[in-house]
C-alpha cells in the first residue's frame, strides 16, 4: 500500500461507554454468539456491532469483545487492523466509497474521486468538518457492469459521473433522503453496521430486483426465444 499507513495510527479517543450501552452490547453480543458453534466466530459481527453503537471500533469496544470472547485485546486488535471496514477514527454519517480499481478508474472513477476531493476539500480516508461525509477509495465492489460506481454506506450508486457524484454528496450534506440507484433508501453508517452484525432491518423489499445492466442478458434472451428446463416441462418458453 502506498501512502501513509492507517495501521500506524492509534485508535482515536471516544466518549466513555455508559453502563446502559455496555449492557446493550453484552445482550446483542450474546445473540450473535448463539449463531455459531464456537463463540470466537462472533468476533467480526461483534466489531460491526461496536461500530453500530460507537461509530468506530473504540478501545473500549475492543476490550469488551476481548472480555466476552476470552481473547486478549491484542488478539482483537490484530483482527480490527486487518479488515478495511473497521474504522479506528469516527466516520461521517455517510461513508462515500469511490471505486478506483482498474476498470472503474479507467471508466471515470479516478475523475470522480478527484472531483469529490476538490469539492469536499478532503482527501482519502478523511471526513468533512461537518461530520457528514467520509471519503474513501475502495476496491472492486462487484458492480463492474455499472462502472464507474460509488457506494454510500455500502449501497450501490451505479453509472456515476463527476457531476452526479458532487450532486449526491451535496444532497447528503443537506440532509436529504437519498435512495440507492440499485438498492435501498440510504441509512446512516451506524444503522448499516447494525445490519452487518446480523440484525435484520426488515428492508429487503426496498429497491428493484435488478438494475438495467443485470437485465441485459435476460432481455436479449427473451428476444431470441429460449427453451430451457424442458426435461421437467413447466419452465419452457
Amino acid at each position: 500500500m502506498s501512502g501513509t499507513s492507517r495501521d500506524a495510527q492509534p485508535t482515536a479517543p471516544a466518549e466513555p461507554m455508559s453502563a446502559a450501552l455496555r449492557d446493550k452490547l453484552v445482550a446483542d453480543a450474546a445473540t450473535i454468539m448463539a449463531r455459531y458453534p464456537r463463540k470466537r466466530s462472533a468476533l467480526l459481527p461483534m466489531l460491526h456491532l461496536v461500530q453500530a453503537e460507537q461509530g468506530f471500533v473504540t478501545a473500549e469496544g475492543i476490550a469488551l469483545c476481548a472480555e466476552l470472547l476470552e481473547l486478549s485485546t491484542a488478539e482483537v486488535s490484530a483482527v480490527v487492523t486487518f479488515y478495511t471496514m473497521y474504522k479506528r477514527r469516527p466516520v461521517g454519517r455517510y461513508h462515500v466509497g469511490v471505486c478506483t480499481n482498474t476498470l472503474c478508474a479507467v471508466m471515470g472513477g479516478d475523475a470522480i474521486f478527484g472531483r469529490l476531493c476538490e469539492h469536499l476539500g478532503i482527501g482519502n480516508d478523511e471526513t468533512t468538518d461537518d461530520g457528514a461525509i467520509t471519503l474513501e477509495r475502495v476496491e472492486c465492489n462487484a458492480a463492474c457492469d455499472y462502472a464507474p460506481v460509488l457506494m454510500v454506506n455500502w449501497e450501490f450508486f451505479d453509472n456515476q459521473t463527476p457531476a452526479s457524484a458532487t450532486d449526491l454528496v451535496d444532497r447528503l450534506r443537506a440532509g436529504a433522503q437519498v435512495t440507492a440507484t440499485r438498492g435501498a433508501r440510504v441509512a446512516s453508517f451506524t444503522e448499516i453496521e447494525r445490519l452487518l452484525a446480523g440484525f435484520d432491518d426488515g428492508r429487503a423489499d426496498e429497491g428493484p430486483s435488478a438494475g438495467p445492466a443485470t437485465l441485459r442478458g435476460v432481455e436479449a434472451a427473451s428476444k431470441t426465444g429460449w427453451r430451457l428446463e424442458t426435461s421437467s416441462g413447466e419452465e419452457s418458453r
Binding site: A42, L44, G97, N101, D110, C144, T214, W226
Partner: protein, 442 residues
C-alpha cells in the same frame, strides 16, 4: 454467430419481487429440494458428479468430487461454507444473483448440506454490499419459516441451521482457507494444505466450501436431471454459466450462456465494443487471469480452451478495454490492489507486490528504464509458484501477460517520459462531450 443464451440462474432477474419465497416458488422454487430429499445423500452427490458441474468461483474443480471427499459416517460435525465474498476485480456475477434470486442459493445450500451431511451451513457475504446482505438474510429467514431450514427439513428428519455472516473488507477472504480463518474470528490468512478443508476445515471439521454460483446451480440439476445440465456446454465444461461483460462495451451486463461461448458471440449480443472504438485487451475471468487480446475473440470460453491460450476461465468476468486505455496504467492499478490486499503472511507476495507498485510508479512518472521490464518479470518469477496461496500467482498474471502482449507500450513510457495516454478519453463520459463532466484527472 450470436451467442445462444440460456437463462436459468438469471431467469428471475427483473421479475417483480423476485427475491421473495412466494415468487421463487412460482418459478419452480424448492422443486429441486423435494427431488433431492427423495434420494440418499450419496445419490445426490452422484447426480452432481454426473452433471459435470465444476466450481464457478474460478478454479473449476468438479463440485460433486469435492463433496465426495467428505468422509461419511465419521461421527464428526460437517460444515458447508458458501463463498459469497465476491471481490475479484471485474467479477460481478454473484452479487446481482444474490440480490435478485437469493432463494436459488438458499435452496442449493440446503441440498448441498443434505448431500454432505452438514447440519450447519454458513453464507459468508462480503460486508460492502448492504442490500445483498439484506436479501440473503431475508431469504434464509423465509426458508426457516417455510420449514425448508430448521430442525426437520420438510419432514425428512434432516436438521439444518444456516448462518449468514458478513465479512469486513478483505479480498484475501475469497481464498477458501483464509475465509475459514476469517469465519473463525481471525485475520483472514490462508492455511497450509494439506490437510484440505474436506478433512480439516472449519473448526477442524470436514468442510465443503463452494462459490455462490456453483451452489445456486444445484437446484436446477436436481429438478431437471444431470443429463439436462450436461447437454449444455463443451466436452469437459458442462452446463450454463454467467458471463459478466464490463468496460468499453455497448451493453455491459450479465449474460448467462452455455460454457464454451466465445467473446465474439457475446459481444454481438452486447452490441460490440463501444461505438467508434476497437478492442485492445480483455480479461477472461478477473484481474488474476492473464489478459488476452483481439486475437483471442474466437476462443471458446470454457476451462480447457482458455487455459490452452495461456490464461484461465476464472470467474468469467470479461473486462473489455478499448484502444483509449493505457495497459500500463491498468496493470499498475491492479498491482496496487494486490499490494493492498496481500495478507502479509508470505514474503514473495508481500514484498513482490510492494516492489511491483514502486516500479509501476516509476514507469508512469517517466522515471523508469527498460531494465524495469526485466525487473518486473524477475519479480514475477519469484512470486509465481512460490507464494503461499493463489493471490500471489494472480498478482503476476496481469504483469507478465501485459508485458508479453504490449512490451512496446511499456517501452513508450520509458522513452517518452511517462504515459502517452489521455485518461479522460477512456472514461464513459468522454463521449458525452460536456467538459464539465471531465472533472479533475491525475
Amino acid at each position: 454467430m450470436t451467442a445462444q443464451l440460456s437463462p436459468v440462474l438469471t431467469r428471475l432477474y427483473g421479475v417483480d419481487r423476485s427475491w421473495t419465497r412466494e415468487v421463487y416458488e412460482a418459478h419452480q422454487g424448492y422443486v429441486g429440494l423435494r427431488a433431492a430429499l427423495r434420494h440418499t445423500p450419496e445419490e445426490v452427490i452422484q447426480l452432481v458428479k454426473d452433471s459435470g458441474l465444476r466450481g464457478r468461483g474460478g478454479a473449476g474443480f468438479p463440485t460433486g468430487m469435492k463433496w465426495g471427499f467428505i468422509p461419511q459416517g465419521d461421527g464428526a460435525p460437517h460444515y458447508l461454507v458458501v463463498n459469497a465474498d465476491e471481490s475479484e476485480p471485474g467479477t460481478c456475477k454473484d452479487i446481482p444473483l444474490m440480490m435478485a434470486n437469493p432463494h436459488e442459493l438458499v435452496e442449493g445450500v440446503i441440498i448441498t448440506a443434505y448431500a454432505i451431511r452438514a447440519n450447519h451451513a454458513f453464507i459468508y457475504v462480503r460486508g460492502e454490499v448492504a442490500h445483498v446482505y439484506r436479501r440473503v438474510l431475508s431469504a434464509v429467514n423465509e426458508a426457516y419459516r417455510a420449514g425448508y431450514v430448521g430442525p426437520d427439513v420438510l419432514g425428512s428428519g434432516f436438521e439444518l441451521q444456516i448462518t449468514v455472516h458478513a465479512g469486513a473488507g478483505a479480498y484475501i477472504c475469497g481464498e477458501e482457507t483464509a475465509l475459514l480463518d476469517s469465519l473463525e474470528g481471525r485475520r483472514g490468512q490462508p492455511r497450509l494444505r494439506p490437510p484440505f478443508p474436506a478433512v480439516a476445515g472449519l473448526y477442524g471439521s470436514p468442510t465443503v466450501i463452494n462459490n455462490v454460483e456453483s451452489i445456486a446451480s444445484v437446484p436446477s440439476i436436481m429438478r431437471n436431471g444431470p443429463a439436462w445440465f450436461s447437454a449444455m456446454g463443451t466436452e469437459k465444461s458442462k452446463g450454463m454459466t454467467i458471463y459478466s461483460l464490463s468496460g468499453h462495451v455497448t451493453r455491459p451486463g450479465q449474460y448467462e450462456a452455455p460454457l464454451g461461448v466465445t467473446l465474439r458471440e457475446l459481444l454481438e449480443v452486447a452490441g460490440g465494443v463501444r461505438e467508434g472504438h476497437e478492442l485492445k485487451f480483455w480479461t477472461p475471468g478477473g484481474s488474476s487471469t492473464p489478459i488476452l487480446t483481439a486475437e483471442h475473440l474466437d476462443v471458446p470460453l470454457d476451462y480447457e480452451a482458455v487455459g490452452a491460450v495461456g490464461s484461465m476461465l476464472g470467474t468469467k468476468a470479461l473486462q473489455i478495454f478499448d484502444e483509449t486505455t493505457c495497459v500500463v496504467r491498468a496493470v499498475a492499478r491492479w498491482s496496487e490492489f494486490y499490494a493492498h490486499e496481500s495478507c502479509g503472511k508470505c514474503t514473495p507476495c508481500r514484498e513482490g507486490t510492494y516492489w511491483y507498485v514502486q516500479i509501476f510508479e516509476r514507469l508512469e512518472n517517466g522515471e523508469g528504464s527498460e531494465d524495469d521490464l526485466d525487473k518486473l518479470l524477475d519479480l514475477s518469477d519469484n512470486i509465481f509458484g512460490r507464494a503461499f496461496c493463489a493471490l500471489g500467482d494472480g498478482a503476476t498474471s496481469p504483469v507478465t501477460s501485459s508485458i508479453h502482449y504490449f512490451r512496446d507500450e511499456f517501452i513508450a513510457h520509458v522513452r517518452g517520459g511517462g504515459c502517452p495516454f489521455d485518461p479522460a478519453a477512456s472514461t464513459v463520459f468522454a463521449m458525452a462531450g460536456s467538459s464539465s463532466e471531465l472533472g479533475a484527472n491525475p
